[in-house]
């Protein structure tokens, strides 16, 4: 729904700015070019995106995501001690985290929702500290190989689309840490009040 407002706002503002600056010809051209550019972008993204999804599928079939999930259990036990008492919640959360790391968004969301549902039982519509933490973890990006972005870069003519990986890892790690710290501080601060 929000995106409807953003889209309408952008189009109307473009009309207003075009009228005021006399750029209306350019705006009209841009509308048609933008639609074409979207299809060109999608086509040039297709190769990298499909190849990467294929590689991910192999990793998944090899049991790599299951292995990753096992690796994360001890950390998650620390982070979500109450939820981890329920074995099924813990296994859903660790599978959610490992799917997120591998960039399998379609697999990660249903797993995370299953965990969130179990964690929300009996709390009467108020999110617990641990549920807030799980959602914050999912609103931060912890993807190891951002394949979609690499495919957009290569579509734009970049020769080494993966050279941003170290920068992405650094920014992701700091962003997740900030989110978890903020969640911890905010929940403690409110309890004291």
């Amino acid at each position: 729904m929000e995106i409807t407002w953003v889209w309408t706002g952008m189009v109307v503002l473009s009309l207003v700015f075009g009228l005021l600056s006399g750029n209306l010809d350019a705006v009209a051209n841009a509308a048609l070019e933008g639609a074409g550019a979207a299809v060109e972008l999608s086509l040039s993204m297709a190769g990298v995106l499909c190849l990467w999804s294929g590689v991910m599928e192999i990793m998944n079939a090899c049991g790599l995501s299951a292995g990753l999930a096992r690796l994360f259990r001890p950390v998650l036990r620390r982070l979500l001690p109450n939820a981890s008492r329920d074995a099924e919640t813990l296994s859903a959360v660790s599978a959610n985290v490992s799917a997120n790391l591998l960039g399998l968004g379609n697999a990660a969301t249903p797993l995370g929702i299953r965990a969130a549902r179990r964690m929300a039982r009996g709390c009467g519509g108020t999110a617990s500290d641990e549920l807030c933490l799980l959602v914050v973890l999912n609103t931060a990006s912890i993807q190891l190989i951002p394949a979609t972005i690499a495919s957009v870069r290569s579509a734009a003519g970049c020769k080494t689309p993966f050279d941003i990986l170290p920068a992405v890892w650094m920014a992701s790690a700091l962003s997740v840490t900030a989110g978890l710290l903020a969640a911890g501080l905010l929940s403690r601060g409110r309890k004291r009040l």
């Binding site: 929000e2 953003v6 889209w7 189009v11 473009s14 207003v16 700015f17 075009g18 600056s21 509308a31 933008g34 639609a35 550019a37 979207a38 999608s42 297709a46 995106l49 499909c50 999804s53 294929g54 590689v55 599928e57 192999i58 990793m59 998944n60 079939a61 090899c62 049991g63 379609n106 929702i113 969130a116 549902r117 929300a120 519509g125 108020t126 999110a127 549920l131 807030c132 914050v136 999912n138 609103t139 931060a140 990006s141 972005i149 870069r153 734009a156 003519g157 970049c158 993966f162 050279d163 941003i164 990986l165 992405v168 920014a171 992701s172 840490t177 989110g179 903020a182 969640a183 905010l186």
Partner: protein, 174 residues
């Protein structure tokens, strides 16, 4: 030789050999996954047509520059290039919208420019925050979300600022 040129061939071979060792039908898995990639792509094409139309109109009309200028003083303080202001505004709301804005920035400034790289790293280190919160709490029946939104936005803001910092650190420029 660039180190990142080694990563992709090495990764492909390693995954294939490991899969063979685990008795996985590697080629079938590859094509099945690629098919899934294609269906993901098919789903985002309509959104990209709508959004890239709006984004390129927005740029051509001069509204993009106006919006970037509006946020420039605050962003300069954080060391973030003001050209990425529209990306930061759209990112928490719409994943495809952010993809459209980022690809427009890469086309306008070049994918290997400072702004182009910062846009890519921003996209890679943040998520569609509001969408995720709505989906999780909606399906768990939570109405009082407490500190989730401020904490998630703190993560986004940190991601944006460190994206610019990381690009300067690894590539220079800015």
């Amino acid at each position: 030789m660039n180190l990142s040129s080694l990563v992709i061939p090495l990764l492909l071979s390693a995954v294939a050999v490991y899969g063979l060792g685990k008795r996985v039908d590697v080629y079938a898995a590859l094509t099945h996954g690629a098919e899934e990639g294609l269906s993901v792509l098919l789903r985002i094409v309509p959104a990209l047509v709508g959004l890239l139309t709006a984004v390129s109109m927005f740029r051509a009309s001069g509204a993009m520059e106006w919006l970037s200028g509006l946020f420039a003083p605050a962003l300069d303080l954080l060391g973030i290039p003001p050209e990425t202001a529209p990306l930061m505004l759209v990112r928490p709301i719409s994943g495809n919208g952010a993809l459209a804005v980022a690809s427009d920035l890469m086309a306008a400034h070049g994918p290997d420019s400072y702004v182009g790289r910062v846009a890519a790293v921003m996209l890679g280190s943040t998520e569609t925050t509001f969408y995720t919160i709505a989906v999780y709490f909606g399906s768990a029946g939570i109405t009082r979300t407490r500190h989730t939104v401020p904490a998630a936005l703190a993560a986004d803001l940190t991601g944006f600022a460190t994206a610019a910092l990381a690009v300067r650190l690894f590539f220079g420029g800015g």
